[in-house]
């Protein structure tokens, strides 16, 4: 790091953070909000997952082996697909392939453009850069895909009479599905555009905050953060568009008839 001070967190710090969550859960239990248990459980999961990730990334950085980096990314992609599918509600079966394809394409673009063209690390597979980049992209596109898929199929169900009317008048399946695609893209992208617009005013995004806390130059951190945010927004839109192109035909037969149940 750029010679700034760095303040590490010890075990007591982790326990204090856990205690805060426990206190919040206790309040929720008293007020019968019914989210205390979920909150505690999620916090424990997050603690374990983050520590594991920290250890693993540390190991991969020290090992400095491109194959190990690739393996880690493959595991992250698999988890991304699994989380997308578990979060998307009311979608047909067989979405794993399209989701994986959308994630792989955007991830490759992210690594090519941001890592190799903009940042240009040495070695080119630098795990210190590549793994967090992939993680941030996946985190964003996984939720966008889950929201987008859920909204798309929900909208296709709601619009069944309209779709039938449009097909009856000679619409292609694309024309009939288009309003649902647009609405699902908008909804899937909402958090991304919101975070893009509010960053720097309301929030200091996680990555920039991390760099600053770790003693990095705040202006450098800001540039980094912008590149990441811009790339993530563009690629999230791309991932969502890819998935829509891959799945919208599921609602139709090969004779371009609307199917009630997928």
């Amino acid at each position: 790091m750029n010679g700034g001070t760095y303040y590490p967190i010890d075990v007591w710090g982790l326990m204090a953070a856990m205690l805060m969550v426990a206190a919040a859960a206790a309040v929720s239990w008293r007020m019968r909000l019914g989210i205390g248990r979920t909150l505690l459980w999620s916090a424990c999961r997050a603690l374990l997952q983050l520590c594991a990730m920290g250890l693993i990334i540390g190991f991969v950085i020290r090992a400095d082996n491109p194959w190990l980096v690739a393996l880690l990314i493959v595991v992250m992609l698999g988890a991304g697909v699994q989380i997308t599918l578990s979060r998307a509600k009311g979608v047909p079966r067989g979405m794993a392939g399209p989701v994986l394809l959308a994630l792989v394409i955007t991830m490759l673009l992210m690594l090519t453009l941001v890592a190799e063209l903009i940042v240009r690390p040495t070695p080119w597979y630098s795990p210190q850069l590549v793994v967090p980049l992939t993680g941030m992209l996946l985190g964003n596109s996984v939720s966008a895909l889950a929201v987008g898929l859920t909204r798309f199929f929900e909208s296709m169900r709601e619009r069944r009479d309209e779709i039938q009317m449009m097909l009856a008048l000679g619409a292609t399946t694309w024309e009939a599905a288009r309003p649902s695609i647009v609405s699902s893209l908008r909804l899937g992208l909402l958090p991304t555009t919101a975070s893009l617009a509010s960053s720097g005013i309301v929030t200091i995004p996680g990555m920039m905050a991390g760099q600053v806390i770790a003693g990095g130059d705040p202006f450098d951190a800001a540039k980094y953060q912008f590149v990441i945010l811009a790339a993530i927004s563009a690629l999230t839109l791309l991932a969502d568009t890819i998935i829509m192109l891959l799945v919208y035909r599921r609602c139709f037969t090969d004779k371009d008839q609307y199917l009630m149940a997928w």
Binding site: D161, M166, A168, L169, G170, E175, K255, Q257, Y258
Partner: protein
């Protein structure tokens, strides 16, 4: 002379728990240009499914269809539906204004090339510009070239909708008005065969008569029309088909309109099921 539409071996089976339930099987049907055919039958007998099958909209139906001697496989589904057009019972109007709702068909790619036989797409100006799916482009572009306000106005006036302004938001319309605007939208695309699913169900006698009159006029100009109806006969149709228990009665032989007792049975059936909404829109 070849019939306008010939349908053979028409079958429809709805998926139900534990297998399929056949709605009708092996029906045949023939329609000539310029004739109006009434289709009646008890609720749930599959009248709407029959019409959607003819329009290639019914995923549960199968059968051999020809239009003016050309088999259905010679058309894209979109081309077929511009010629054999189903008008759903439920009127759905999209867009901000009545005019926009009525122009919807003319925003579709199938009417861009002008090769679909309907004389409405004569301008080559937009030809071939819509090869790629347009995500960002709005729906209403250059469609006023295809269908001007005056044509829409004339059609609405003829349907007894003289009081509906073209810039009125569609959701302000009453059920009967919406049904007639939806009818106007489909009539203005000039299909060869119109499949009208209870268009006059929500109308008073006066306006139902106006709808019948405009359909009669369209038929005089060569359009064939199959109407699902539950009202008493209005004299516009040349014959009546009854769909019940999976069979089509009062059938096709010629223009002999079926025997009188079949007609009577049809309307007895029709009045019994009244305005009950059929659930067969599979």
């Amino acid at each position: 002379m070849t019939a306008l539409l010939r349908a053979e071996h028409l079958s429809c089976a709805l998926p139900s728990d534990g297998g399929e339930r056949a709605l009708f099987r092996d029906l045949s049907l023939q329609v000539e240009s310029g004739e109006i055919v009434d289709l009646t039958g008890p609720s749930g007998s599959g009248k709407s499914s029959l019409l959607t099958a003819l329009a290639q909209l019914n995923p549960h139906a199968s059968g051999d269809l020809t239009l003016q001697g050309r088999p259905v496989s010679a058309f894209t589904p979109q081309q077929w539906r511009t010629q054999v057009t189903y008008l759903p019972q439920q009127a759905i109007l999209t867009g901000q204004t009545v005019a926009e709702a009525i122009r919807l068909p003319f925003t579709l790619a199938v009417r861009d090339g002008g090769s679909n036989g309907a004389e409405i797409a004569e301008d080559a100006y937009n030809g071939g510009r819509r090869r790629f799916p347009s995500l960002l482009r709005g729906a209403a572009h250059h469609t006023t070239d295809r269908l001007d306000d005056a044509a829409i106005r004339r059609m609405l006036d003829a349907l007894g909708c003289g009081d509906i302004e073209l810039d009125r938001p569609p959701h302000d319309l009453s059920g009967g008005q919406s049904a007639r605007v939806a009818l106007a939208r489909t009539l203005l695309t000039r299909p060869k065969l119109l499949l009208a699913d209870e268009v006059d169900a929500g109308l008073d006698d006066d306006n139902a008569a106006k709808v019948a009159a405009i359909m009669t006029r369209a038929a005089h100009e060569g359009m064939a029309i199959i109407r699902i109806r539950h009202r008493p006969p209005d004299g516009a149709s040349s014959r009546t088909l009854v769909l019940s228990d999976g069979r089509l009665h009062g059938n096709d032989a010629a223009h002999d309109s079926g025997s009188t007792d079949i007609l009577a049975a049809a309307h007895a059936d029709g009045s019994r099921s009244g305005t009950a909404r059929p659930e067969e829109e599979a």
